[in-house]
């Protein structure tokens, strides 16, 4: 198991190097200039020499090869550089937002898992009953309704019904749990609903398929209790595709909640990503891409590990 984990971990290195090279050169092809946006974006009459001075200060006047070498050397020493927009270390810019994004992703995943697995299981076991129909309607609605729109409905509902809105600035969970949850529970629910719908439908279809397998029939023929047949034999196998989806969705939530973050005025990674792109803040974009790529790689690794836990055949292969 350890060897398997180490092998998987080593495979992440070339993946991340590839991402680093790609993102650096793709960004240099995109039109736009961080200095122009920063100094002239608001219509100011800024002299060309001022623009050139700022470009020099940021090192944008240096040859591309030199900039690339600096970026790769920095990456190797875990130094993501300094934001061209704010002059702050990229790592600090990301860290400020990561706590919030990570918490929303975890809370949304909890909401999704807690709803989706019982719902999907019930729908599969009680196929074509009213419970199954209700689950199917709820999950189709979840897939059809965009999270940001549900978020807007939640905000308008809270405002109209209670003349209350969640806090607009982030308070860490460890500082004031009530204020923290009052702010983040709503986006977690808005996002978690769609997420739950995806997972519930997958659990339902996967469980229906597994319940028709020979080994389930054999278990039942041997007189194994139905609770054990479903819990130990069927569900354990049926969850494998759901785990993959949960993992991918979790990684997506770290940087993909762009619109939802705006609806709830959340200071998250998604908003930072959009801002950095619109400002052509190369170093910050590079750092964000590396962060999200790392999350995808690590989540995939975790999913692979979980596969081994759920499916002994992978462990012993």
């Amino acid at each position: 198991m350890l060897r398997y984990a180490v092998q998987r971990l080593l495979l992440t290195v070339p993946t991340l190097i590839g991402v680093a090279v790609l993102v650096f050169f793709v960004l240099r092809v995109v039109p736009g200039d961080v200095v122009e946006v920063k100094l002239r974006g608001d219509g100011g009459a800024v002299a060309q020499e001022t623009i050139e001075a700022e470009r020099k200060r940021l090192g944008l006047d240096r040859p591309l090869a030199r900039q690339f070498v600096d970026w790769m050397v920095g990456l190797a020493t875990l130094d993501l550089g300094t934001s061209m927009w704010t002059d702050r270390p990229v790592i600090d810019e990301i860290a400020t937002r990561l706590e919030l994004s990570l918490q929303v992703a975890i809370m949304a995943t909890l909401v999704a898992v807690l709803i989706a697995i019982p719902m999907g299981t019930a729908a599969a076991l009680l196929r074509d009953t009213w419970i199954d129909y209700v689950v199917r309607i709820v999950t189709i609605a979840g897939l059809a309704v965009p999270s940001f729109w549900l978020g807007m409905l939640i905000m308008i509902g809270l405002l109209t019904a209670f003349s209350w809105l969640p806090p607009i600035t982030f308070t860490p969970l460890w500082k004031d749990p009530a204020a923290n949850l009052a702010q983040l529970i709503w986006p977690a629910m808005a996002v978690g609903y769609r997420y739950a719908a995806v997972v519930a439908r997958l659990v339902r279809s996967s469980l229906l398929e597994v319940l028709n397998e020979d080994y389930i029939r054999t278990a039942r023929a041997k007189g194994v209790m139905e609770r054990l047949v479903v819990g130990r034999h069927a569900l354990r196998n049926a969850l494998l595709p759901a785990i993959t989806v949960i993992g991918l969705e979790f990684a997506f939530l770290i940087g993909g909640l762009v619109v939802t973050e705006q609806v709830f005025n959340l200071n998250g990674i998604g908003k930072l990503f959009v801002q950095s792109v619109s400002r052509n803040d190369f170093t910050l974009i590079q750092g964000m891409v590396m962060l999200i790529a790392s999350f995808y790689v690590l989540v995939n690794l975790a999913v692979d590990m979980l596969y081994a836990v759920f499916d002994p055949r992978i462990r012993y292969r």
């Binding site: 736009g32 009459a45 001075a53 607009i168 600035t169 005025n265 801002q275 619109s278 400002r279």
Partner: protein, 527 residues
């Protein structure tokens, strides 16, 4: 629909009347003002910024030498300066500073700090960006006869100099801090303003607490403030309605104003003013057929600005028809004179007939081109749609393309466009500031039409040095006449500023610029 408009106008009028009455009340001490800021500053250095986001963030922490007296705008008044004199030949400006003013670290503000600040503004050291270097290029030397006196000696006359000393961007920094690190103001705040810097949580908010040693007796009235960055208009409207933020000081759209008035009734105060911002249509004079004055003039003449202002003002922040100076401001061209200029005529049918004739004469009766625009909904998109429609009516086809700010600015700077919508953001009405955008490209890189016109340059230089107001107005009219005849670029419409705040917020002063009045020293909460 008309009834609703009149009702809303009535409510706004009543709100303004109440605001006026309330301002006469005695200010109360205490409370924290939470307000929305619709953008976040890239850094803290006022000298190197041109965005209001820096001022709405940093102005409460700093003093300036002079400032605009907003109730008497465009008059200026002292901030750090207790008094001042201007030599009759406009070549010497002498200031006496207030005594007993201290920076937030306890050190006294002296003329050495003001000198260090202005030296940095006019001649920034390596690694420091001053976007006002050219503005203060007319200063020859700065003298400090004593610790509370400062004298600016000029190289040449600049009639706008006193207003430039009142610019909100000229935050006074400590000479000691600048000596240690000239770039320090980019990342550290240490001023002498009404509030002491609290925290800046990136992407979230800035906060400040009352400066107990602020030199103006009794001010500031607030215990502190919190400026929350809210980039999404809908989220900001919800927050205003829900009372999470009590104000937003840049400006909202007419639709947002109507929503707030409808939802909040007399709990919200709406203040309105024309705005020192305009959108311009500009033609790339280096590209054919826009190097032909007939084509540019035809496209300018096809615009029904008077009709457009009626429609666009209902759906966007665009409203006033004006020339190169903000309509209603001291140097603005009166409507009757404006209507005689190319592109401003009120007989649009006649103007369009002339436009078609000019296009035929230029050999491009069925002209088509790309209109480059910024992808911001307010007011760029409606302005772009308006232009496309206006040109369609003279048989011209414009392919309207909107870009993110970065590629948009890249295209504008590199000249990679045919026709574009540009913008002009001014902090005051002093004509030299706005007119510099139209001076020849080799003198003024912000002239994105890339035109070279020595006649305009000469008129610009003459008006900068002209001290007689009436003669200066005549020069500005001549400048405007020449500019619109050549039609390198021309304002489409000027913006209209609408500011919403809860009625509990008192003492804030409305002005035509969102860059002014951001220090919050006189703001108080009536609760």
């Amino acid at each position: 629909m008309t009834t609703i408009r009149w009702t809303l106008a009535g409510l706004a009028g009543a709100a303004l009347a109440l605001a006026g009455a309330a301002s006469a009340q005695t200010p109360k001490r205490g409370g924290t003002l939470t307000f929305a800021v619709s953008a976040e500053t890239p850094h803290y250095d006022c000298h190197g910024s041109d965005t209001y986001a820096t001022l709405h963030f940093a102005a409460p922490f700093y003093s300036t030498l002079l400032r605009f007296d907003l109730p008497k705008y465009p008059a200026v008044t002292g901030d750090l300066a207790e008094s001042w004199t201007v030599a009759p030949d406009l070549m010497t400006y002498s200031f006496k500073l207030n005594h007993g003013v201290t920076f937030h670290d306890g050190s006294e503000v002296t003329s050495a700090d003001v000198k260090a600040t202005y030296e940095r503004l006019r001649n920034p050291p390596t690694g420091v960006v001053s976007t006002r270097k050219a503005t203060f290029g007319d200063i020859d030397r700065i003298e400090t006869p004593d610790s509370h006196s400062i004298v600016f000696r000029m190289k040449s006359v600049n009639t706008a100099m006193l207003e430039h000393f009142a610019s909100p961007w000229n935050c006074i920094y400590s000479a000691r801090v600048l000596a240690e690190d000239p770039a320090a103001p980019r990342t550290k705040i240490m001023g002498s303003g009404p509030f002491i810097f609290g925290e800046h949580v990136k992407g979230s908010h800035v906060s400040g607490t009352r400066n107990p040693k602020y030199f103006r007796q009794g001010q500031p009235y607030l215990d502190g403030f919190k400026g929350v960055f809210m980039l999404q208009a809908a989220a900001m409207m919800n927050a205003l309605q829900g009372g999470q933020v009590l104000a937003e000081y840049r400006g909202i759209s007419p639709a947002e104003r109507d929503r707030l008035l409808q939802a909040m009734g007399d709990r919200i105060r709406i203040e309105e003013s024309s705005w020192t911002l305009n959108l311009l249509v500009l033609f790339n004079t280096e590209k054919k057929p826009f190097d032909d004055v007939r084509v540019r003039r035809a496209l300018n003449m096809a615009l029904d600005r008077w009709g457009g202002s009626q429609g666009l003002s209902r759906i966007s922040t665009l409203r006033s028809v004006g020339g190169v100076v903000r309509p209603g401001s001291p140097y603005a061209t009166p409507e009757a004179e404006l209507a005689k200029l190319p592109g401003y005529g009120k007989d649009i049918a006649k103007a369009r007939e002339e436009a078609r004739r000019l296009l035929r004469e230029a050999g491009v009766p069925n002209l088509s081109f790309t209109l480059t625009n910024r992808n911001l909904a307010q007011p760029y998109t409606p302005a772009g749609v308006f232009l496309v429609d206006q040109w369609r009516q003279i048989g011209v086809t414009a392919d309207h393309r909107q870009f993110e700010t970065s590629p948009y600015l890249a295209a504008m700077s590199s000249g990679n466009f045919e026709v574009a919508i540009d913008f002009s953001n001014l902090f005051m009405d002093e004509p030299s500031l706005g007119l510099s955008k139209f001076v020849s490209f080799d003198r003024s890189p912000e002239n994105r039409s890339r035109s070279i016109d020595r006649q305009l340059d000469s008129l610009f230089d003459q008006q900068v040095r002209e001290r007689d107001v009436e003669k200066r107005k005549t020069l500005i009219r001549s400048f405007e006449q020449r500019l619109f005849e050549q039609s390198y670029q021309a304002p489409i419409l000027w913006w209209h500023r609408i500011v919403a705040s809860h009625k509990t917020v008192m003492g804030w002063e409305m002005s035509p610029s969102h860059n002014l009045g951001a220090d919050l020293s006189r703001v108080w909460l009536n609760q």
